[in-house]
Subunit: 80 residues, 2 copies
Amino acid sequence: MLTTEDIGRIVRFHRKKAGLTQVQLARLAGVGKTVVFDIEKGKKTVRLDTLMNILAALNIRIELTSPLMEAFRERNNEES
Amino acid sequence: MLTTEDIGRIVRFHRKKAGLTQVQLARLAGVGKTVVFDIEKGKKTVRLDTLMNILAALNIRIELTSPLMEAFRERNNEES
DNA sequence: TTATTATTACTGCTATGGCGGTAAATATTA
DNA sequence: TAATATTTACCGCCATAGCAGTAATAATAA
């Protein structure tokens, strides 16, 4: 189970690898510096769009998985 | 790229498969009914914890992927 | 059709997330 | 060591997410 602490560690790792400070990442992602710190600290109550902007800036993809996802994809004609 | 609209469709699909109404899912996830509706509509500004509670109730896992994730996992001794 | 259920769309309210600014504490480099 | 950069931790302010309640549609069943 992925926790927000995991997310924080992943974000920090990617940010460091990208050679960015928290402030630089914040500007790049179009969010405030405070929330970058908060997310890296594992804050649970961040807004989804804020997190997604940060993940996108770091080229991290979100995926949802479950035993039903195959059925979902074929129901929605998933290709492209 | 996963969008919030995708998330909404996935949540709704899983909820239906589980035979739950929005209100039932809300109670199960410990959130308000309004936000279940909002998420299924693709709302971007929901809180991460709220979404995670709903996903957990539906047995949907969140995963983060990137070219650096392998390096991250081995750096953090990922097994268990 | 009618009755029932579920979804959608409002409402006001409260709590708090995000923000920049600042400053202190750490970490990094010279 | 000192100087610099970064991170952490505050601070108010504003905008809004989440909430239950309600009501109006919409979908489903009898």
